[in-house]
């Protein structure tokens, strides 16, 4: 019996070895989970909406397919510019394919509104060039988000437009101040082809072409229909900053710039610079041409004259009677006198006999000097009509006042106060008036003044015009209509539709 037990125990041991001794431990990588196979396709109208998955930007836009999704409930949000966000949940199950289509256009909550209004009610409204039945003011509701062009037109006002960006559930303002063109028609870079809103000079030639000088874009010609542009790149014009324009008796257009002078003689250019004539500098302040063809170029370093038969003659303050080399303005009268303004040394007169007379606002010894009732000794502008001379003065450091003075037959007239500003940029004399009387236009830093008699003067400023600037740089007179073309510094050109 004992022996049998021993055999049994030994067999058990053997079996244990047989089944356990080969039980080895292996290190293995953890099993990988099965690949999820959920699928969703998301589309929208309009397409291009950004898809957010569980609050995080997926970087994908509609239409897009999202593959290999896990089994769970996803929160998707579609974000599209101008539209409200659209969120929805989708539960993905094994092997499931989901198709989601979001139509923004069918959802009224996605629509927006444009508020159309103008400073004058009753303007016609064009929405993306389609004329609407209604007139301003108007709220256009139910619009698909996007960018709309809104145009307004009304008789007596310049047609104008704006863009409105419509967002879902919001009101976009499309409010425009229409320019009243009953009297004032604006020509600026927004409303016309004019290249620069800073106009430095304007003159009208015998063909009624408006010649417009600009601060940075050269010379512009406008014949009521076409715009022609002259600059240093496309023409011989030596510079793009025009300082002065002069139309002579033969209808030649003289142009002064900061880089020299030029004359446009019926299509042909002639240029004057320090390189081809005795100009002391290329900075031209003013130009004058006498009836015999003698022309004068005023610069800050002297005065240059060219006469037929004599050629060039240079006046400076040392070798001639010129009181100061910085010549600001120049004009001739019917008696053949040249009137020469200086920057700080008053007004000079050069007679046809070659005699100099210098007028200052203080007493100075010497036979050529004479005291005159000037507000300062800085002459900004001289304009002549027959034997009458109009002189504009800018404030000098001593008097700090400027103003307007008239000279006629040896007498000075100074009762032209108050002017809107002490700084005078231009004096323009209108002869084609309805009553035949000489009308004076004074362009100043802060307003435009016109008068026949100063007591009946009219001031044009921002408060009583549609103009948005008060810095005037000259006027010119339309030979066909009698209207006035007004140059402003910063506001472009205006046509004043009024006959004087």
């Amino acid at each position: 019996m004992k022996k049998n037990n021993l055999i049994k125990i030994l067999l058990l041991v053997i079996l244990t070895f047989a089944f356990q001794s080969c039980d080895k431990q292996l290190s293995v990588s953890p099993p990988m989970s099965p690949v999820p196979v959920g699928f969703i396709h998301i589309d929208s109208r309009p397409s291009g909406a950004l898809i957010y998955e569980d609050g995080r930007n997926s970087g994908m836009r509609t239409p897009a397919s999202l593959n290999w999704l896990e089994e769970k409930t996803y929160l998707f949000t579609l974000k599209k510019e101008l539209y409200r966000d659209t969120s929805f949940t989708v539960t993905i199950t094994e092997g499931d394919s989901e198709y989601i289509f979001v139509d923004y256009y069918k959802n009224p909550w996605m629509r927006g509104t444009i508020y159309c209004n103008t400073n004058t009610t009753g303007a016609s409204i064009y929405l993306n060039d389609s004329l609407l039945q209604e007139k301003t003011p108007l709220k256009i509701k139910g619009l698909i988000p996007g960018t709309y062009r809104v145009k307004y037109s009304k008789a007596g006002f310049r047609t104008d437009s704006t863009t409105a960006i419509v967002h879902s559930g919001k009101v976009a303002d499309a409010v425009v101040s229409l320019t009243d063109t009953t009297y004032w028609v604006d020509f600026n870079t927004r409303t016309s082809q004019i290249p620069d809103n800073s106009i430095t000079a304007i003159k009208v030639d015998d063909n009624n072409v408006k010649w417009i000088g600009t601060l940075e874009k050269g010379l512009v010609a406008y014949d009521d229909k076409n715009w022609t542009f002259y600059n240093s790149s496309n023409s011989p014009l030596p510079g793009n900053t025009v300082t002065t324009i002069y139309i002579d008796k033969t209808n030649r257009v003289w142009v002064g710039t900061l880089s020299g002078a030029a004359v446009l003689d019926h299509g042909s250019w002639e240029v004057f610079t320090t390189e081809n004539c005795p100009l002391p500098t290329n900075i031209i302040n003013d130009i004058d041409v006498q009836d015999d063809g003698t022309y004068w170029l005023a610069t800050r370093m002297g005065l240059l004259k060219h006469s037929n038969g004599f050629g060039w003659y240079f006046y400076d303050s040392l070798k001639s009677g010129l009181p100061h080399r910085w010549v600001t303005s120049i004009a001739h009268d019917d008696l053949g006198n040249m009137w020469i303004g200086s920057n700080g040394f008053g007004l000079a007169k050069l007679t046809p006999d070659g005699e100099w007379k210098v007028y200052l606002n203080y007493m100075k010894l010497g036979t050529k000097y004479e005291k005159a009732p000037f507000p300062s000794n800085i002459v900004s502008r001289i304009e002549t009509y027959k034997n009458e001379v109009w002189i504009g003065f800018n404030p000098d450091p001593t008097t700090r006042i400027g103003g307007l003075v008239r000279y006629r037959q040896g007498r000075w007239y100074t009762h032209y106060n108050p002017l809107p500003s002490h700084i005078i940029f231009s004096i323009d004399l209108q002869t084609n008036t309805q009553n035949g009387m000489l009308r004076k236009w004074i362009s100043t830093y802060q307003g435009l003044v016109t008068f026949v008699d100063f007591s009946d003067r009219i001031e044009y400023r921002r408060v009583n015009t549609p103009l948005n600037v008060e810095n005037f740089h000259g006027v010119a007179f339309d030979k066909k209509t009698g209207y006035v073309w007004v140059a402003t510094y910063g506001g472009g050109l205006y046509k004043l539709k009024k006959k004087f």
Binding site: K3, L6, I7, L10, L11, V13, I14, F17, A18, S21, C22, L26, V28, S29, M32, V35, P36, V37, Y52, G55, R56, N57, S58, G59, N67, W68
Partner: protein, 322 residues
């Protein structure tokens, strides 16, 4: 009794033969995936690679000649929830691992510069539908500890110049790099040049071998000033016009690994010498669904200037403003 004799024989036979099976160190091949993406805070170019495990005949893993790079992955990197960058794939000439004959492939974005403190996440959707995911946080730059940093070379009472820094985070790995910045007059114009500076030189197998700064947990780096002198001398070797050299400074660039990158480096680096490996070596990964690492590093630069007298002792022109 005869039966009893058979039992021990049987036992011995089982012991000797039942476990006698061929042993192979290779397990059953299982396809696994690895993603490596180190985000750099000093550039807008970020690169990611995705590879899979491979099998070879025999035991030599280098017998594999097929690039394990996985093409056609859809990889996105997020900064927060709203900013996402989808990586594009590209390839370049392989100049490190030459055992693969084709180009080195990678995924990249060139429009993403991580900022300090950014929380970044990456997701790679493999062509077979599996996803590899990871997150990391761009570490704050270190601050230079000027109490332990030399400002000028030569230094007094020491044979080395030291830069020391401190960080608000512990157990990070820092990888310093030292360069000499100098100008050289070429055709009348100054051209900027740089040269790398080792910590010291050691003689290994009879050869003078440079010892470069290596990544470690140390919060300082020391450069043998004799080595600096040798480098300074070497830049104009053979050129008698020493005044054609204008010396700027010794620039220390310290690359700071973030937590993930530090842990990955610590777990995978060798210790002792190049013939030893850690017996407790283990793989670190922060990639959910695979292996590899998604981390970032930032860079901090500082300079040690040279005294004018020291520069002039080499015949060079000192330049302290740069």
């Amino acid at each position: 009794m005869r039966k009893l004799i058979l039992i021990p024989l049987l036992l011995v036979a089982i012991l000797l033969s039942s476990c006698d099976e061929p042993f192979s160190p290779k397990g059953k091949y299982l396809e696994r995936y690895a993603l490596f993406g180190i985000m750099r805070a000093d550039t807008n170019l970020q690169v990611v690679t995705v590879t899979k495990s491979y099998d070879v005949e025999g035991l030599n893993p280098y017998a594999n000649k097929k690039d394990p790079f996985i093409k056609n992955c859809f990889i996105r990197i997020w900064r927060g929830n709203d900013e996402v960058h989808i990586l594009r794939d590209s390839a370049t000439v392989r100049n490190i691992d030459k055992r693969y004959s084709d180009s080195a492939h990678f995924y990249y974005t060139n429009n993403f510069t991580p900022q300090k403190g950014d929380e970044l996440s990456i997701e790679c959707l493999l062509p077979n539908g599996r996803r590899l995911k990871a997150t990391t946080k761009v570490i704050q730059p270190i601050e230079i500890d000027y109490s332990g940093t030399d400002l000028e070379i030569p230094v007094t009472d020491k044979k080395f110049a030291q830069v020391k820094w401190r960080s608000s985070v512990e157990d990070l790995v820092y990888s310093p790099q030292v360069e000499l910045y100098y100008d050289k007059a070429v055709n009348g114009r100054w051209e900027l040049h740089t040269v790398k500076v080792p910590m010291k030189y050691a003689v290994i197998n009879g050869h003078k071998t440079p010892i470069w700064p290596s990544p470690s947990h140390r919060n300082y780096v020391q450069i043998d000033t004799v080595v600096v002198g040798q480098i300074l001398k070497s830049i104009s070797e053979g050129d008698p016009n020493k005044s054609h050299y204008r010396i700027r400074a010794l620039i220390f660039s310290i690359y700071i690994y973030d937590r993930n990158l530090s842990a990955f480096y610590s777990s995978s680096k060798k210790i002792g010498d190049e013939f030893s490996v850690r017996v407790d070596e283990r793989d670190f990964t922060n990639i959910d669904g695979g292996f590899g690492v998604f981390g970032s590093y930032t860079e901090k630069k500082t300079a040690i200037l040279f005294t004018e007298k020291y520069i002039r002792s080499f015949g060079y022109v000192p330049l302290k403003t740069f």
